[in-house]
């Protein structure tokens, strides 16, 4: 039996769907905020100055918890602004969804491990843990973004690994170097080369 001819409008709709799918698959998540990273880096350096060396106190953890909330707010605001400016709002962008799916799990692991480290009197080792897991989040989420993002993730992971081996009282220096220094350096590169 001969195949029924395909209606011309079905073929046109299929072609438009194919173009949209190809564009979605090919588009990287480029809304990583460079300038937002620079501001996050500045607040992290301020947090390191306020917190001082890790001392197994609730105050020390709360300073960094506060810094995490501030950094997340800066990241979300600047990312939303950058995505809107590029014409691909976060709520509708498939690459943003894929990035989030890979980025969030290591951060959730960090949230679970923080009280575990605290109850085991390992608070002084939290800087290594946070840097390593944040780097993992960037490296895995970065596979759906521009090439510099996974590179930034690997840099955080390397710094976290060194922090584990370094003397515990140096923890706030590592946090300042990572969440401060690396955010500022990579933020400037992203802002310069990837649209702000």
């Amino acid at each position: 039996m001969p195949a029924r001819p395909e209606p011309i409008d079905a073929h046109a709709a299929d072609n438009i769907r194919f173009i949209r799918d190809a564009m979605t698959r090919a588009s990287a998540f480029t809304a990583i905020p460079g300038w937002g990273g620079v501001v996050m880096g500045a607040t992290a350096i301020a947090a390191a100055a306020i917190s001082g060396p890790p001392d197994n106190s609730l105050r020390w953890v709360m300073v960094w918890f506060g810094e995490a909330v501030v950094a997340a707010a800066i990241a979300l605001a600047t990312m939303t602004r950058k995505a809107r400016r590029s014409g691909a709002p976060l709520s509708t962008a498939a690459p943003a969804y894929r990035f989030a799916l890979a980025y969030v799990p290591p951060l959730v692991a960090g949230m679970i491990l923080t009280p575990v480290f605290a109850t085991l009197d390992l608070m002084a080792r939290l800087p290594g843990c946070w840097l390593l897991l944040y780097g993992t989040a960037l490296a895995s989420g970065g596979t759906f973004s521009v090439r510099i993002v996974p590179l930034m993730g690997v840099s955080f992971m390397a710094l976290g690994t060194v922090a584990f081996a370094a003397p515990a009282p140096w923890g706030h220096y590592f946090l300042a170097a990572g969440f401060g220094g690396l955010h500022i350096v990579f933020g400037l590169i992203i802002a310069r080369n990837y649209g702000g």
Binding site: I8, D9, A12, A13, F18, I19, R25, A26
Partner: protein
């Protein structure tokens, strides 16, 4: 070799010359299917142009992975798009490894926009 290249370019020119502007009159899109740009109408070539429309540059391997095709198939279709001047190819070395990068030209972007307009015109004409 030169003769083959000239023949290929002449074939591409004849395919491009069939392109019209159906968006001005949607019914012409249905009545005159020969207006279709046959250079990018082929699925793999349409995929290459669409992927490059949202990326400044893509390497040969990026495109191969995205479009899930073979080296030979991608080479042939990318060459047709190059001949039509819809994409440009840059060959460099990364260490000792050759690296081929493609980017969409202004003509390629216009062709894609015209092709999408053509498809939308068909849908509009059928609905009317």
């Amino acid at each position: 070799m030169a003769a083959r290249s000239a023949a290929r370019k002449s074939e591409v020119r004849s395919q491009k010359s069939e392109v019209g502007n159906p968006s001005r009159n949607p019914h012409s899109a249905i009545r005159s299917p020969q207006l279709l740009d046959r250079v990018i109408h082929e699925r793999l070539r349409l995929g290459i142009v669409s992927a490059l429309a949202v990326n400044e540059r893509l390497t040969f391997n990026d495109l191969k992975r995205l479009l899930q095709t073979t080296d030979g198939n991608l080479s042939v279709h990318a060459r047709k798009l190059e001949d039509a001047q819809y994409i440009a190819c840059d060959k460099t070395f990364e260490g000792r490894m050759p690296r081929t990068e493609y980017r969409l030209t202004a003509a390629g972007r216009r062709a894609l926009e015209k092709y999408v307009a053509h498809m939308e015109a068909i849908l509009k004409a059928v609905r009317e």
